[in-house]
């Protein structure tokens, strides 16, 4: 079969996969972390579809599994006094800053159901952001030494993904217009903080968060074909609560098979 035929066949197969897109707006890091962990569990049980969460966090510094506290340049108390907390998490990578003006995207995707390797999945995530940035006239790309999305030698989006039983969580954080001074608190992924940039720095004007989110979602859907539809945070919370209750009650015994 021709490569194009194979790809068309694959796309056809994938379009049967349902997906939810949920824009959480502003939400606390720890609450969204808890939501992600629940969704991963439910996704493994096949009781929820692939889900793309979009969110803007309050200021927080997160440390990945390899994260070294040495890469946080300010003392913890100093940060706490400014309302910035430190959170250790299970994603890959070192230290990351999240804050207002940053679009954070968490794809809860079942890799095996999409026939994706971990590397293939991360590549697609980066590609979605590169394509979305191109819509704003920003020429972004990959850096052979580091993950994430880069504009020449400066990082515009940080990436850190975790996989639990072949379901992804955590994800990618795009600097739209965050307070760049906050990056000076950390050594982002052991890079110097002057190697970080944002869309507003690159464009010399601040693009709307909503517009950026729309472009990112559009590119994500292109690269992860399926029947995606947007649901409200309330609808998502209702589903998660319902499924969690039925899972605990044993109404919905988990079919945790890897293959379809």
């Amino acid at each position: 079969m021709l490569r194009a035929d194979l790809e068309a066949e694959r796309d056809e197969l994938m379009t049967d996969i349902d997906g939810w897109i949920v824009n959480l707006g502003h939400a606390r890091y720890i609450e969204v972390l808890d939501l992600q962990r629940k969704l991963v569990d439910l996704r493994q049980r096949n009781t929820v579809p692939d889900t793309l969460l979009l969110v803007e966090h309050e200021s927080v510094i997160t440390l990945g599994r390899r994260g070294s506290i040495d890469n946080i340049l300010s003392g913890a108390e100093d940060l706490a006094s400014q309302g910035i907390h430190i959170q250790r998490v299970e994603r890959g990578g070192d230290v990351t800053y999240h804050g207002p003006g940053q679009l954070v995207v968490y794809p809860i995707v079942h890799l095996t159901q999409r026939n994706l390797s971990v590397r293939g999945f991360v590549d697609l995530l980066e590609e979605a952001l590169i394509k979305a940035l191109a819509d704003f006239g920003i020429r972004a790309g990959r850096n052979p030494q580091h993950r994430g999305v880069w504009v020449s030698h400066r990082k515009v989006a940080a990436l850190g993904v975790a996989i639990r039983r072949w379901v992804s969580f955590h994800g990618i954080a795009l600097n739209v217009s965050p307070n760049m001074d906050h990056f000076c608190y950390i050594n982002p992924c052991a890079l110097r903080s002057d190697q970080v940039t944002s869309m507003s720095e690159l464009l010399g004007g601040t693009p709307g968060m909503k517009e950026v989110a729309q472009r990112v979602v559009a590119k994500f859907i292109e690269l992860f074909p399926g029947k995606w539809h947007e649901i409200s945070p309330t609808e998502l919370f209702t589903e998660v609560r319902k499924e969690n209750v039925s899972a605990r009650a044993g109404i919905n015994p988990a079919p945790t098979t890897l293959s379809k």
């Binding site: 990945g64 890959g92 993904v161 996989i163």
Partner: protein, 129 residues
């Protein structure tokens, strides 16, 4: 020690038994799919691991992948060499790239795993879908 057959879980974690012990690691397919491994979080000696619950984590690029235990058991030894050279998994996963050795708790757990030829067929079937 009598070396048993190589068995692999659907989560791409292998078990190589010898007597009451089981060496565990990730399959060659998983090592290839993950790319170069840059970090391994090992379990602790003495830990009780539970079948299907994460017992170790491997990280490549910027994805960290939790490994569900293929069987239940107590951790007897861990491969400390992976702390310095995690890519031993990419080079020789069934040999120098082992992750831990477990004391087998339920021999019945082993029966639920696939033989290497069955695992290869499982992979081929997944490929076709």
């Amino acid at each position: 020690m009598a070396k048993g057959a190589l068995k692999i879980s659907q989560d791409h974690v292998y078990v190589q038994t010898s007597d009451e012990e089981a060496q565990v690691g990730i399959s060659d397919f998983a090592a290839e799919a993950l790319g170069t491994i840059i970090y391994v979080e090992l379990p602790e000696v003495g830990d009780d691991v539970i079948k299907n619950e994460p017992f170790a984590t491997v990280e490549s690029g910027k994805a960290s992948v939790e490994l569900p235990a293929p069987i239940s058991g107590k951790v007897l030894r861990v491969n400390q060499e992976l702390e310095e050279a995690p890519d031993l998994i990419n080079q020789d996963t069934y040999g120098k790239g082992w992750i831990a050795v477990l004391a087998i708790k339920e021999t019945g757990d082993l029966a639920e795993l696939m033989s290497k030829p069955d695992y290869d067929m499982f992979l081929a079937a997944a490929e076709e879908e």
